[in-house]
């Protein structure tokens, strides 16, 4: 079907805002989430808002983004960022907050400074949850980019879907849809494998190793 290269071309277009958006959401999200975890002041200001944002249908903001930033790359990148950020922030925050209190006390007992506490105990422990947050953020990013392409203006995969829909070429439309779902599923599966490899449960201390 679309082995004539149009599929590959479409993905090249689609993946651009997706990758940029995920990168931005990851850096900003992790930074903010970690700040929330380490500073009670930041937490106080941000937590209620972030909880609401995690539950909220952020997709409602997308028409607004279209209005503000037009129908180009920017609004699509922003759509990805807006959808992916809440889960990345919350997971980073929880990872920091849920540091094992026994280990923190041990560090203090052996005269660790606050900085050593953060670098040697809290961050390694939070790594697993932060990575899980990134994985979920990627999933949300895929959702964001599909909505963006169907809503804002069709390009890439969204274009293939809408075009084929409008000319009633349903097999092709179906194929395009299936392809994006498969790509999303494979990417997330790969991230899951990586997560399990980097953060096996025993190393995370889930069996009370420490």
């Amino acid at each position: 079907m679309v082995a004539d290269g149009s599929l590959a071309k479409a993905y090249l277009i689609t993946l651009q805002p997706l990758v940029i958006g995920i990168a931005l959401a990851s850096v900003a999200g992790m930074g903010f989430g970690i700040a929330m975890g380490l500073s009670r002041a930041v937490e106080w200001f941000s937590l209620p808002i972030m909880i609401v944002l995690q539950a909220a249908p952020m997709a409602a903001i997308i028409p607004l983004l279209t209005y503000m930033y037009g129908i180009g790359l920017t609004s699509k990148v922003l759509a990805v960022v807006v959808l992916a950020s809440p889960v990345i922030v919350m997971n980073s925050y929880k990872g920091i907050r849920n540091a094992n209190p026994s280990l923190i006390q041990m560090c203090r007992a052996f005269l660790g400074t606050r900085r050593q506490e953060i670098v040697k105990i809290i961050l390694p422990h939070a790594g697993a949850l932060i990575f899980a947050g990134l994985r979920l953020g990627v999933a949300m990013g895929f959702i964001g980019i599909v909505i963006a392409e169907l809503l804002i203006t069709p390009t890439g995969i969204g274009d293939l879907i809408t075009y084929n829909s409008s000319v009633a070429d349903y097999p092709n439309m179906f194929a395009a849809i299936v392809s994006i779902i498969v790509v999303a599923a494979l990417t997330i599966y790969a991230l899951e494998r990586l997560e399990r490899k980097l953060f096996p449960p025993e190393i995370r201390g889930l069996d009370n190793a420490g």
Binding site: P48, A59, S165, M173, A185
Partner: protein
Amino acid sequence: MILFGKKIPILFSLLVWCIIWEIIGRAKLSTIVPPFSAVIAAATAIIPTAKFSAAASISLRSFALGMGLALLVGIPLGVLMARVASLGKILGLWVNIFISAPISALVPILMAVVGIGETTVVVTVFLFAVFVIIIDTQVGIKQADRSLVEMARCFGANRRQLYTKVLFLSALPEILAGVRLGVIRGVKGVVIGQLLIAIIGVGELFELYSQHFLMEEFWALVIIVFAFAFAISEAVAFLERRVEYYASTR
């Protein structure tokens, strides 16, 4: 946060954000941000209108139908998949694919097959919510304490009693967690489904307001919908907390 030696509850930070919003709006720092008070005024203005209640009732109806279906299908399926290993493996693959997949990509198919209308939205809500309910139910049942099951059998429980009196209750914390996530996804499903169809419900209103640059109305609707999503997820969380007390001693 401690101000003047008194501990300020964290919810007050929302109040601070409202004040900041008001200031930004008054100072006209951005064309898309009207003052918070204007947004609230718009909210009180549009809620009693016929247009809004029509949009709200369509959206609520689709949401309720879709969620109801998701619960009716998801929970029993999750239980089955946990108890029948082969079913769990086969269906598990599909559930795991769809749980993080961009379901919104399926909406064009739905539109082609089912038409442009409420039914599509109901199916969208169903698809958004059902997978997380299936998985969390499955996990909950699987992790049901083996010794509780043995105990029940030992005291002569038949199959039905085992499921209703022991397994389901034991898994209830996980099931409710799944329902809460499902509810959040369901709301996203209503909004996204209606945005993509763009001629009914709150999705239509979002498009309308932003196209005509009615910013007060747009943000008012955002707050209303976000508040609804939050309220309903908190309602389920409340139920979750009611059963939490036995979660740790299972």
